[in-house]
Amino acid sequence: MAVTKPTPARRARVILDTMWSSGTGRYALVVLALWALVALVSLFWTPLPLLATDGYHVWAAPSADHWLGTDGTGADVLSWLMAGSRTNLVIAGLTVIGSAALGLLLVGLMVARSTALASVSVAVVDALISIPTVLIALLLAVPFGASAAVVVGACSIAYGLNLARVARPAALLAARSQYVESARANGAGGLRVLVQHIVPNITPVLAVQLSMSAGTSVLAEAGLTYLGVGVGAGVPSWGHSLSTSVKLINVFPLTVLWPGLVVTLVVIALNLFGDALRDAGDPVANPLLREA
């Protein structure tokens, strides 16, 4: 009987198919695909240029000229939201990479065979995790100024610490398992054990935590930009759109509604994406993946 060799492409296809088969997974995939598509399109086209303002139509309701209305400067809300999706996508992506790198480094130290190193790492993570994301952002903003990099840095540090703390029990179970002992008995070193044996066995936890990090980075960007330590003035982002319109929420609620709605839909999608990926990407839980 011929044996089909598993390939990353085939595995990815099975994972996507499995996610698509559930309602929540389908919602997450549609919203995230739309987000990526809009970010891509905004590179070449927005309904109006970002700097185009119409002083006669400020805080305008949705119309044929401005599909989602205008803000206090008469700028097109949809154009700014489309351009903002790009910034938020980059922030979310870099936050996932940053928090994964820091989190996995810390996980590696926290489950090290050296009990002294592991104990010190646990104590350091427990101490640092008490520092709020806003405070980290404020500290980073002092030397670097308000920028997207500050948001990414603050989120990566805060969520990386959180990831390490949440993933540690699962990683510890894997690190003390007999299959890791078996790998060491075959000559595997510490880094290889971490990458090939511990990390693949904690991917369900990582999938959920990293998707939550991406979602929370969208919320953090909005909050930090409102506080003045997020993305710089004039840089389009969903946080920027929210902060410029929130002051007059009682008078013109619609302009707040659009960025608020986008943020909410995307954060929900990211959280559901993590859950769906966890279930679809686990070869033990997903029989289709075993046949891929």
């Binding site: 009987m1 050296s114 075959n186 075993r290």
Partner: protein, 286 residues
């Protein structure tokens, strides 16, 4: 590869687990280490691999072939030496593990990475120790799979899709894929049913003999030991209390721990029918 353990003492957290064990395994010889649970068998196996828990302190010496892997600064651990001993550097040990020393573990359900396919699992030591192309590795994995009696169908399966016997065959294939010169089989049949136990022991013995490797077979079951080894050591509370030809020891054990293990093996396996009839008689009389 010949293996020599001299005056090995293992201390864990201030408690001495192994008290001066001397053990030799000749080139191509199959030697057993038998003892009750908690007698220190697995600690000796871990000491041979240099994989004892952090904080363990050792005395004595271990050498494999020409390489001294554990020794004290004052010499190579000559039995009476109580000076703390240290291992060769980690690089030397890592090169030894998997390449020259293969290990078959007790519980194959736990010893195989649950998310790794059989093909990747078996190829692991090859990836670590040999610079082979993917197709060369795949070829060797298929050949090894055939030797342990598994078909290519299992290549892309994960451990939970296999039976206990199949898992242990994968474990044996992983241990033997690099043609190591010394095999440590740490209770490889304990988690298996009696029929599979026999198949696995016979498979392991034939593969080890074909490869001309030596083997340390650790077990608490004399019935299994008698099939797998020619010579054995009896371990009791961290001390070797008896050693000799396995068949002779099984026929006439001299020490109390050895007698206890032999009696248990006879009652459970060798003369189960006689024992049950004797028990029935005892009940009837009472």
């Amino acid at each position: 590869m010949s293996v020599s353990v001299r005056g090995l003492k293992v201390d864990l957290g201030g408690v001495e687990i192994v008290h001066g064990v001397d053990l030799t395994i000749g080139d191509g010889e199959r030697v057993g280490l038998i003892g009750a649970s908690g007698s220190g068998k697995s600690m000796i196996a871990k000491a041979l691999l240099g994989l004892l828990p952090q904080g363990a302190s050792l005395c004595g010496g271990i050498s494999m072939g020409d390489a001294a892997i554990l020794g004290s600064a004052s010499g190579e651990g000559n039995g009476g030496d109580s000076a703390p001993a240290s291992y060769a550097d980690e690089r030397t040990l890592a090169d030894l593990r998997g390449r020259y020393v293969g290990t078959v573990f007790q519980n194959p359900a736990r010893a195989l990475n649950p998310v790794m396919t059989v093909a990747r699992q078996i190829a692991l030591p090859l990836r670590l120790h040999y610079d082979l192309t993917a197709s060369e590795r795949a070829e060797r994995v298929r050949a090894m799979l055939g030797k342990v009696g598994l078909s290519d169908d299992v290549l892309n399966k994960r451990p939970h899709e296999l039976s206990g016997g199949q898992r242990q065959r994968v474990g044996i294939a992983t241990a033997l894929i690099t043609s190591p010169r010394f095999i440590i089989a740490d209770e490889p049949t304990t988690a298996l049913d009696s029929i599979t136990q026999r198949q696995i022991v016979d498979l392991l013995v034939s593969l080890v003999d074909d490869a001309g490797a030596s083997m340390l077979f650790i077990t608490h079951d004399f019935a299994v030991l008698s099939r797998a080894t020619t010579r054995c050591y009896v371990l009791d509370e961290g001390r070797i209390v008896e050693s000799g030809n396995t068949a002779d020891l099984l026929a006439a054990p001299e020490t109390a721990p050895a007698r206890e293990l032999v009696t248990a093996a006879r009652r459970l396996t060798l003369h189960a029918g006689d024992t049950s009839r004797a028990d029935e008689g005892g009940v009837a009389q009472s």
